[in-house]
């Protein structure tokens, strides 16, 4: 096994070199440790603009940690140390002069559990806009409406924008949270197992939404569900024990995995 670990890097670099114009995010030699424990080792990964990249792998392999490196949400925990480079649009986001607040506006994130604020539907979507300083009523209304339309929620909530967001169903809440993230006009969307708490119908709606969103956004989605990864993503990265084992076009990875570990995992022989 250890002999194989250098192989993804070659693949990675070749991918990077082949399509340099298209890459929005590139992660280079990223190491993350939590206290003394290494949770991510030497991650190299590039995300292509207007494509969906899926991160799959067993629980605890570091998928969510990797995701949170991209908007520096790991900074909040002082026990977490990050080394290596993460370039977003060519900018090193871990550089000293980087403004975390503007980075997080550029890189939106949606969490595993729907987490609308205990406010009205309107105020949830307007939250980020108000942080940006949008204060006139008409601007707010217009942008809230557009975000809700982009998140395919407008038709369901247009008559009750001022009722509590907590009254929505789980699936609606998750789309509301996406609308909230879209409102601040990010370029990249990080989705951390967005469908894991949803019923099949809501999940299907969410996948359709992802398919339409990728026209305008670069999306990185963490998922446990391999069928889902196969359905929504263009590229898939398989992670295991803090390492990036294999990264390839989704169709290739699921049909002709190059690594033994990948094959074991996607065929269910894992563990």
């Amino acid at each position: 096994m250890p002999a194989q670990s250098s192989k993804p890097d070659l693949l990675q670099n070749s991918l990077l070199q082949n399509e340099p114009d298209d890459v929005v995010v590139s992660i280079r030699q990223l190491h993350v440790s939590y206290r003394q424990r290494q949770v991510l080792q030497d991650i190299n990964l590039s995300l292509r603009s207007q494509h969906v990249t899926a991160l799959i792998g067993p629980s605890g392999c570091g998928k969510s940690t990797l995701l949170r490196c991209l908007n520096r949400l790991n900074d909040l925990d002082e026990r977490c140390t990050v080394t290596g480079q993460v370039l977003v649009n060519g900018r090193d986001i871990y550089a000293v002069e980087e403004d975390v607040v503007s980075l997080r506006r550029e890189v939106g994130m949606v969490f595993q559990r729907p987490n609308p604020f205990p406010k009205s539907i309107f105020d949830n979507v307007a939250y980020g806009l108000r942080l940006l300083g949008v204060s006139t009523r008409s601007d707010l209304q217009q942008q809230v409406r557009k975000s809700l339309q982009d998140a395919a929620l407008w038709d369901e909530v247009r008559d009750r924008l001022h009722s509590s967001a907590l009254e929505l169903s789980n699936g609606q809440q998750q789309r509301l949270v996406i609308a909230r993230a879209l409102a601040v006009q990010p370029k990249i969307l990080l989705l951390d197992e967005p469908a894991s708490n949803l019923d099949p119908i809501s999940m299907l709606k969410l996948e359709e939404l992802i398919a339409t969103l990728k026209i305008n956004y670069t999306i990185l989605i963490v998922t446990h569900n391999m069928q889902q990864a196969a359905r929504v993503s263009d590229f898939t990265a398989f992670m295991d024990a803090g390492e990036l084992v294999e990264f390839a076009a989704t169709s290739d990875l699921f049909t002709t995995p190059k690594q033994r570990r990948t094959e074991d995992y996607i065929t269910g022989r894992y563990g």
């Binding site: 607040v101 001022h162 601040v184």
Partner: protein, 539 residues
């Protein structure tokens, strides 16, 4: 599942568990916890019943009796009196008989404590005295006896004799307040129908010498009174016969209410009790009758000032502890210190504020800003502000702990979502966390208010007083006079129960004041619960 001891039939049922097995099954805890719940519930209900019962009895109109007591040497005296309680008095007339052991000597006599009307400076006043039962000649509850309440709150007991016009009053006044020889003679001298049939049939009517009162029922009398009050240009007066037989004319404008207290239906009594209760609640003690309105104001204002002092400090402290501070041993120690402060007795806070703030800070402020008024202290003596400060310190641990628990219940997902949208930490805390934690903040405030409203100990040294004429709130700048001493419901209870001379009445007033305090706290809590419910729902 019932305890095994429930029944003992001749043939034991096969399904019944033996006691040991039942005990091991743990069901005993079910019954034990139910038992403790029942005990505490019954105790609370009993306490509330006691308070409510004592309060209702205080307001319920009491029968007013006519007493004739012998005052020695064959003389007798008529009194209009409320019997209060029976007691035993040392017998002044007891003579020591030779040969009888001292323990068997009659040294005590039965007596009744009464509140009766006496003329003091030509105005009838209630006074208390004990009357030995052997001195009572007659005792009864004449139905036509009238209790007149004047607009200033004072009361006159007597018989309503007749209406007179002002020009006749002069002649009445010349004879007024002249004691008539014997009480019964008035009735004899006055012509006409003294006792109605109904009155005569009353077994209480043993006196048989009821004066020639206006023999109409009280509704008619009251109607007449109101009609006369309307046409005030005629200046009618109502003549009352007092206990000593003298006549006292009262201008109708001064009359507030007329009651035949011994001849009231249940409904009338209830109505009177309501009126009495309203009088008590809506007036200050300066009204002639007791009242607690300024104490209600004082309590509410103090709680308000306390909340203003308390909430910002406590909430910011809790936010720092939970949102900003590193979670290490020092934070844990601080948290333990804050929690343990809740156990410090209230009077310690009172003395602390008295020493440090009243004499120290207040005294210095007086020297700097109010030196013109020295040696009279402005902020250098107890007052609303300092009492509110002591209560704010006292309740701060409760609010900090409740707020922190509320903050801990906010899922981290919300914080992350806010930060992921580009919020700074401050924007996250105030825009999301505090907003979501508002119900918890209110819970903390409710607990603080409930504790503060009933706390008396720190107020004893910080300016709570039994009576003040200085209003806390008036039209003069700065409108709310926080440096003033103030009246407070809890302190009133203490004062009524401990310090007052007229034990019977003031104990009852202590109960009533307690009821008002409890209801006030319940009302504040209900208000906060409603507010909380509106926060939990939508914006």
């Amino acid at each position: 599942m019932k305890p095994a001891a429930k029944s003992a039939p001749a043939q034991p049922q096969p399904t019944r568990l033996p006691f040991s097995a039942w005990w091991r099954s743990g069901d005993a805890w079910h019954w034990y916890s139910l038992f403790t719940l029942t005990v505490s519930f019954v105790l609370i209900i009993a306490l509330m019943m006691l308070i409510v019962f004592a309060s209702v009895r205080y307001f319920w109109p009491q029968a007013l009796e006519e007493w004739v007591i012998s005052s020695g040497e064959g003389e007798s005296q008529r009194l209009f009196a409320y019997p209060l309680r029976t007691l035993q008095l040392p017998d002044a007339a007891a003579t020591v008989t030779e040969g009888v052991p001292e323990q068997q000597q009659p040294q005590w006599v039965d007596a009744v404590m009464i509140a009766y009307q006496q003329l003091q400076e030509q105005r009838p006043q209630w006074v208390m005295r004990a009357v030995a039962t052997t001195d009572i000649v007659r005792r009864g509850q004449p139905r036509s006896l009238v209790l007149m309440t004047l607009v200033d709150g004072s009361e006159i007991a007597g018989y309503a004799l007749r209406w007179v016009q002002q020009n006749e009053v002069q002649s009445w006044l010349s004879t007024a307040l002249q004691p008539v020889a014997a009480p019964g003679d008035t009735a004899m001298a006055a012509a006409g129908d003294a006792v109605t049939g109904a009155d005569a049939a009353n077994p209480d009517e043993q006196l048989g010498h009821e004066p020639n009162s206006l023999a109409v029922d009280i509704q008619q009398l009251t109607k007449q009174l109101q009609a006369l009050q309307l046409q005030s240009d005629l200046h009618w007066w109502l003549v009352m016969e007092l206990h000593d037989g003298s006549s006292l004319p009262i201008p109708v404008q001064r009359v507030d209410r007329l009651l035949r207290v011994n001849n009231m239906s249940w409904k009338e009594s209830l109505r009177q009790a309501g009126i009495n209760a309203w009088q008590f609640l809506s007036h200050g003690p300066d009204h002639g009758a007791p009242g607690i309105l300024p104490a209600i104001y004082g309590t509410l204002l103090m709680v308000l000032v306390m909340s203003v002092l308390l909430v910002p400090v406590a909430v910011l402290t809790a936010i720092y502890l939970h949102e900003y501070a590193a979670q290490n041993w020092l934070t844990g120690l601080l948290r333990a210190v804050v929690s343990n402060l809740a156990g410090v007795p209230g009077v310690v806070y009172g003395v602390f504020v008295l020493g440090v703030f009243v004499y120290g800070v207040g005294g210095s402020i007086d020297k700097l800003l109010f030196s013109g008024q020295l040696p009279l202290p402005t902020l250098g003596s107890g007052g609303l502000l300092w009492a509110a400060l002591a209560l704010a310190l006292l309740t701060m641990p409760v609010v900090i702990t409740a707020t922190e628990e509320g903050l801990a219940r906010i899922p981290d997902d919300l914080r992350l979502a806010s930060l992921a949208l580009g919020a700074t930490r401050t924007e996250m805390v105030w825009g999301v966390v505090v907003v979501a934690a508002r119900p918890a903040l209110l819970t903390g405030l409710i607990l603080a208010i409930a504790r503060a409203a009933g706390e008396v100990a720190p107020l004893l040294v910080l300016g709570a007083i039994a009576y003040t004429e200085q209003p806390l709130l008036d039209g003069q700048f700065p409108f709310l006079h926080v440096e003033q001493p103030f009246m407070h419901l809890g302190y009133q209870v203490y004062d009524f129960a401990m310090q007052s001379g007229h034990a019977d009445e003031s104990i009852a007033m202590a109960y009533v004041t307690t009821l008002v305090l409890v209801l006030l706290v319940v009302a504040l809590n209900l208000f906060a619960f409603r507010l909380r419910a509106s926060f939990v729902g939508t914006e």
